[in-house]
């Protein structure tokens, strides 16, 4: 054993004679320059067609387009630099300065790769501009007309309040119902078995049914059947109820995953201190689980928010319904774009809020991420 160990060490020492040569730079530099020039060309074409579409644009618009065209040329700069590094690499290699040549080669390749990365991004942007100007600007005309944006904004925004109300109402209920279902599903022992089964049946059912169908059935069914209490609820409350039914099933599974991810040693520690099952769950397990599931919870909440656009099927005038109404009047989709943008605008702050929450929690408990 010992013999072979030292033997292989000796042979490794013998193999050290030839140093690693620097990797080639010139081919990748040529490729980078080519890609940068082609992409800049594509961008120039796209900007030119945008210029044509705008007809006779103001001077500042022309200046802006020119500035964009110059920006599209920027990836050429690192590509040219790569050539410089290729030359130094060749010189150092000739002088047999291996380490320095390797360093030059790495820097040169890095520049070439940077040029290609930025050039491809320019190409994608050029593609998007070309798409927007295609068919002599018909696409832009259909989706983005300033006058329709102005005229529909107030109505759509007013209707969007309904979406926000339904979303917040359902989210608050889902937080509670989802946790109850998850805890039911995790109840121990023989006594808990029927409740476990019910929880599983509920999750299986309501996670499977499309939320638009649940909205439809709850919205009309409870009224048709004259179910006491429910028949007197406003459509908004029925929408909240329907979305709560659907999303509690998702969120129950998120909670369950969170609770099950807490190491059994935490249970053992809490129980060994004399805490009961319920107390352990409430003070030790669930608080830790909730901290872990915040990101997937936000996912489901964003899904719920988006599904408020479906409540039109039960006769509630939400932002999407309102925008379609306006859109069919003016024969243009700009009002619908307004709704889409509103959904994006309310989602982004939530994502940033969750990021901040997690960072704060990490710095508070001294945990590195």
């Amino acid at each position: 054993m010992n013999d072979t160990l030292t033997g292989s060490a000796r042979s490794a020492e013998g193999a050290r004679a030839t140093p690693t040569p620097p990797r080639p730079v010139l081919p990748v530099a040529v490729l980078a320059l080519l890609v940068a020039v082609v992409c800049a060309g594509a961008a120039a074409l796209a900007l030119w067609s945008l210029h044509q579409m705008l007809g006779n644009p103001a001077a500042w618009v022309v200046a802006l387009l020119a500035a964009l065209a110059v920006t599209a040329l920027l990836p050429v700069v690192p590509a040219v630099r790569a050539f410089g590094h290729a030359r130094s690499r060749a010189r150092l290699l000739a002088e047999n300065r291996m380490a320095a040549a390797r360093h030059e080669a790495a820097t040169g390749r890095e520049h070439a790769h940077t040029a290609m990365g930025y050039a491809l991004a320019v190409l994608i942007c050029a593609g998007l501009i070309w798409f927007a100007t295609a068919n002599d600007g018909a696409i832009t005309e259909t989706f983005l007309r300033w006058e329709f944006l102005k005229s529909s904004f107030a109505d759509v925004l007013a209707a969007f309040v309904v979406n926000v109300e339904v979303a917040i109402g359902a989210q608050l209920l889902v937080l509670v119902v989802g946790l109850l279902v998850a805890v039911m599903r995790l109840l121990p022992g023989r006594a808990g078995r029927p409740l476990r089964w019910l929880a599983i049946a509920y999750v299986d059912t309501f996670r499977a049914i499309p939320s638009i169908i649940v909205l439809y059935l709850v919205g009309f069914g409870l009224k048709l059947a004259e179910v006491p209490v429910f028949r007197d609820l406003s459509p908004i409350w029925l929408a909240i109820l329907a979305l709560t039914l659907t999303y509690s099933a998702y969120v129950a599974e998120v909670y369950r995953a969170g609770i099950e991810s807490i190491h059994p040693s935490q249970w053992a520690a809490a129980r060994s201190l004399g805490l009961s099952y319920g107390m352990t769950l409430r003070t030790v397990i669930v608080p830790q689980a909730v901290r872990r599931i915040v990101p997937p919870l936000l996912n489901d909440f964003i899904g719920l928010q988006k599904d408020t656009a479906l409540i039109g099927v039960m006769g509630v005038t939400d932002a999407f319904t309102q925008s379609r109404l306006t859109a069919s009047n003016v024969f243009n989709l700009t009002p619908v774009i307004v709704v889409a943008v509103l959904f994006v605008i309310i989602t982004i702050p939530q994502a940033r809020f969750v990021d901040r929450l997690l960072t704060k929690e990490q710095s508070r408990t001294g945990r590195s991420s």
């Binding site: 040693s265 520690a269 129980r271 201190l273 107390m279």
Partner: protein, 247 residues
């Protein structure tokens, strides 16, 4: 007088027969060390004593009261029987002070101010008072384990179970934790330790039990076990420990 009595305890995990009839009596103020290879049943025995694991056969009684089997108020039992774990198991979302005061406040009905006062006094004793508001993840392993010992002690348990509490610590941190256990032994706290620290076991134990394949193969005074073991298995185990430089 026998304080803790373990009589013919059997424990199965499925087909795996972990404890195969363990019998042991512990008197008040005794310090009993359980030694033996990994998987010999040391930890399982400790977990059975405070009912973290149910036993299939036999009987365990604390202070004359049977605490195994159905219908026992395990939560009350566990306030009398403290436990410290190998991996500390502090609650990471709570400060040191809340970790320590959780059980007395939530279960013992002690007013918060009073519990905190007592907790701070105990934390002071183990040199952790200035970390009372820190969170476990900001502490070293040795510091976390000292907090875990305080957490187990704060409800005044009559017996303390220590499950390889230095096994996860860096060597230079072991001493601090063992010093605390030594002090507790001198104060007369009844303790059961599963441990690999043979030198320490020899120093503090009143009784040493060698476990092998779920049985107490040999038990006696530390001098007898370490210097004149009767069983061949004990001798083999100790010679392997000596070879690894831990005795």
């Amino acid at each position: 007088m026998t304080f803790l009595e373990i009589h013919d305890v059997h424990k199965h995990y499925g087909d795996h027969h972990v404890l195969q009839g363990v019998t042991l009596e512990v008197a008040r103020h005794e310090v009993v060390c359980l030694i033996g290879a990994s998987g010999s049943g040391k930890s399982t025995l400790l977990r059975c004593i405070n009912a973290l694991e149910p036993i299939q056969q036999g009987e365990i009684s604390v202070d004359g009261d049977v605490v195994s089997g159905q219908g026992v108020d395990v939560n009350r039992l566990r306030r009398n029987v403290g436990m410290v774990f190998q991996s500390y198991n502090l609650f990471p979302h709570m400060s040191v002070l809340r970790n320590v005061t959780l059980a007395p406040v939530k279960v013992g009905g002690v007013p918060k101010a009073e519990a905190e006062e007592r907790a701070l006094a105990l934390l002071d004793r183990v040199g952790m008072r200035d970390k009372a508001h820190a969170y476990p993840d900001a502490l070293s392993g040795g510091q976390q384990q000292r907090v875990a010992i305080v957490r187990a002690l704060v409800s005044n348990p009559q017996v303390l179970l220590l499950d390889e509490i230095t096994a996860a610590l860096d060597p230079e941190l072991v001493g601090d934790v063992l010093a605390i256990v030594r002090e507790l032994a001198q104060d007369g706290l009844t303790m059961l330790l599963a441990t690999h620290e043979m030198g320490f076991a020899r120093e503090v134990a009143s009784q040493v039990c060698f476990l092998h394949e779920g049985r107490i193969l040999e038990r006696g005074a530390p001098a007898q076990i370490f210097e004149d073991p009767h069983e061949e298995r004990t001798r083999q185990f100790l010679s392997r420990v000596i070879a690894s430089g831990r005795l």
